[in-house]
């Protein structure tokens, strides 16, 4: 699938095989039978690359994100991380894996305790692990703040005082505290203004080139996906209906779903022309 790494003959960092996730009737309000949120999803991601999962709401994208981040257990199928099957792991081993795959959500506001300061929010994941001393954690927090484009003097600020873009940077910094190998970004840019999206997108690209970060970028924004990803997988009703390089998906879409998605994307400029400078 993802050819970027395959050329180098490497093993994929993350490999998903035939993932199925069914929600039983009891969990959902007013629905009929159990719902197959994921209906046999397979893909692989190589280290240092970005796979974008594009689809409408209800296509199963978020369920995929929770299963991969080990927040939910799939009904069947395999998830292999560094060639180890993680679906069958014990809770303790799973914790170690969770460190390496961090999830970043769409709504930055709700993932922080609004009363906590930036510094505390950053330190929390490490404090929970209990390995480092307080000073070490603070140093690391400062370094990460700088790395994501926030200044370390913001340590004392409350999460509620930050703008949307700043909160997402904080979310990324917090995720990086545990030195993960994979970042799963579930609509992480969707709630941000366009210019801020560009800033965060650039940050993600920088992190990828400097730290070899691997991304699973889940979105319904086809344009941003095409910009960031090495490979795009289009999802619908729990299945991947098409996958390939961005150029191919955009210019030679095979699936009806992809074509509908492309048609629905609002485009700036008229008749497909790029914005002309004055």
């Amino acid at each position: 699938m993802n050819t970027a790494g395959r050329d180098k003959g490497m093993q994929p960092l993350l490999e998903v095989g035939n993932l199925v996730k069914t929600y039983s009737r009891r969990r959902l309000a007013g629905s009929g039978e159990g719902v197959r949120a994921l209906d046999g999803v397979s893909f692989s991601i190589f280290r240092g690359t970005t796979l974008a999962i594009v689809g409408e709401s209800g296509s199963g994208k978020s369920t995929l994100a929770s299963c991969l981040a080990c927040l939910e257990k799939p009904t069947s199928g395999a998830i292999r991380f560094e060639d180890k099957d993680i679906v069958t792991l014990s809770e303790e081993d799973l914790r170690a894996i969770r460190r390496q795959m961090q999830l970043i959500f769409q709504d930055p506001a709700s993932s922080f305790n609004p009363r906590w300061g930036v510094g505390e929010i950053l330190i929390e994941p490490l404090a929970l692990q209990g390995n480092l001393g307080r000073d070490e954690m603070r140093t690391r927090a400062h370094a990460l703040l700088e790395q994501v484009g926030l200044s370390s003097s913001m340590e004392a600020k409350l999460a509620s005082e930050l703008s949307g873009g700043q909160r997402q940077r904080l979310a990324i910094a917090r995720a990086l505290m545990l030195e993960p190998k994979v970042l799963i970004l579930d609509e992480a840019l969707s709630a941000l203004d366009c210019s801020v999206q560009a800033q965060i997108a650039n940050l993600l690209v920088d992190l990828q080139s400097s730290c070899g970060m691997t991304y699973l970028f889940i979105t319904h924004d086809l344009a941003m996906a095409a910009h960031l990803a090495d490979e795009i997988a289009v999802m619908s009703k729990g299945r991947i209906v098409e996958h390939g390089a961005p150029n191919k998906i955009l210019n030679q879409p095979q699936s009806v779903i992809t074509r509908e998605l492309l048609a629905a994307v609002p485009r700036l400029g008229f008749a497909g022309t790029r914005v002309a400078e004055s």
């Binding site: 409408e56 203004d193 366009c194 210019s195 095409a226 910009h227 955009l250 609002p266 790029r274 004055s278």
Partner: protein
């Protein structure tokens, strides 16, 4: 040309807890022509929502309307009595709020939430109200009208909730509809559906609209004119085609540049999107001068000290920027 709505030099500020005033609208003037769709383009903090709320007198308690006028049918809405305002809201001018998931009453059936509005404006007796409600729902929900009207908000999808908000706004056939980010939380297909709904309403009801959004692409092929908002001021205003394809204000240009293009080839090398540098003085807006100056790639000395006025570039395209002053 008669304008339906005219905003003159509107200045609104918010009072923070320690008494400081922060300017949300800093001298906004524009007019709205009958039957047109005016797209208001602004990012968070630009004052676009404040604009929407101030038109109908819905600003929170800690706000101050420093000056300006909102002229509608010969009256200044800012000076209207509460009773007058209540009669206009929802009947002559309607506002579609952001976030359909919280803009609907959680324990009232949505049909009733529309009927209440008709009732509040005396649109007839009980049978008439029911009939009109059904009509509105059928316009927006076709075959499912009955079922949707009996539902509660939490039983509906995001797109359906958005349509209910639209139903509430058009129930009394207002002359002006202000839509604040009506598609923000929706996925592309639903977004397109909602835009089509607006197009249909515009055609069939002759609606005049103010469409507020932070996504310029949505205005393409939909808005007649586009107004670009920055820091509570109008940066640029002109025909949609002009503003969207050849923007003149440095902010508008920078904004459009930061959007990843869909139609150009993507190669692995070119990964950086041009961005607007951050504003070092975010909490302390400058007293005078252009608000975009600290981040402007084309700033000049004069931009710091004087407020740029408006420069007319053509019959209807104007820009607030010193770069165009001596043309």
């Amino acid at each position: 040309m008669g304008s339906i709505l005219e905003i003159r030099d509107l200045r609104v500020a918010y009072r923070s807890r320690n008494g400081d005033l922060s300017r949300a609208l800093d001298g906004v003037s524009f007019f709205l022509g009958p039957g047109e769709v005016l797209g208001v383009l602004g990012e968070s903090g630009s004052g676009k929502s404040t604009l929407a709320l101030s038109l109908l007198g819905l600003l929170p308690r800690d706000s101050v309307v420093a000056s300006g006028a909102v002229l509608f049918q010969g009256r200044d809405l800012l000076k209207a009595e509460p009773r007058e305002l209540q009669a206009i809201r929802g009947k002559n001018i309607s506002l579609i709020f952001q976030e359909p998931s919280v803009a609907l009453h959680p324990t009232m059936r949505v049909g009733r939430q529309v009927r209440q509005i008709l009732d509040a404006h005396g649109m007839g007796d009980r049978d008439e109200l029911v009939r009109r409600t059904r009509e509105v729902f059928e316009t927006l929900f076709a075959g499912e009208a009955e079922r949707i009207a009996r539902s509660y908000p939490h039983q509906l999808s995001g797109g359906q909730r958005q349509r209910v908000l639209i139903a509430q706004a058009i129930a009394c056939r207002p002359s002006v509809v202000i839509a604040d980010e009506p598609t923000a939380s929706l996925d592309p297909t639903t977004q397109k559906e909602i835009l089509d709904v607006f197009r249909g309403l515009r055609k069939n009801l002759g609606l005049t609209m103010i469409f507020i959004t932070h996504n310029p692409a949505l205005l393409s092929g939909f808005a007649d004119r586009v107004l670009v908002f920055y820091a509570g001021r109008v940066a640029e205003l002109g025909p949609a085609k002009r503003v969207l394809t050849s923007p003149k204000h440095p902010y508008t240009q920078a904004l459009f540049r930061s959007i990843p293009p869909l139609d150009e080839p993507h190669d692995a090398g070119e990964r950086s999107l041009p961005t607007i540098p951050p504003d070092p003085n975010r909490s302390f807006p400058p007293r005078s001068g252009c608000p975009f100056e600290p981040r402007c790639p084309e700033r000049m000395e004069i931009c710091k000290s004087r407020d740029p006025g408006f420069v007319s570039l053509s019959e209807s395209h104007m820009v607030s920027c010193f770069r165009y002053e001596n043309q």
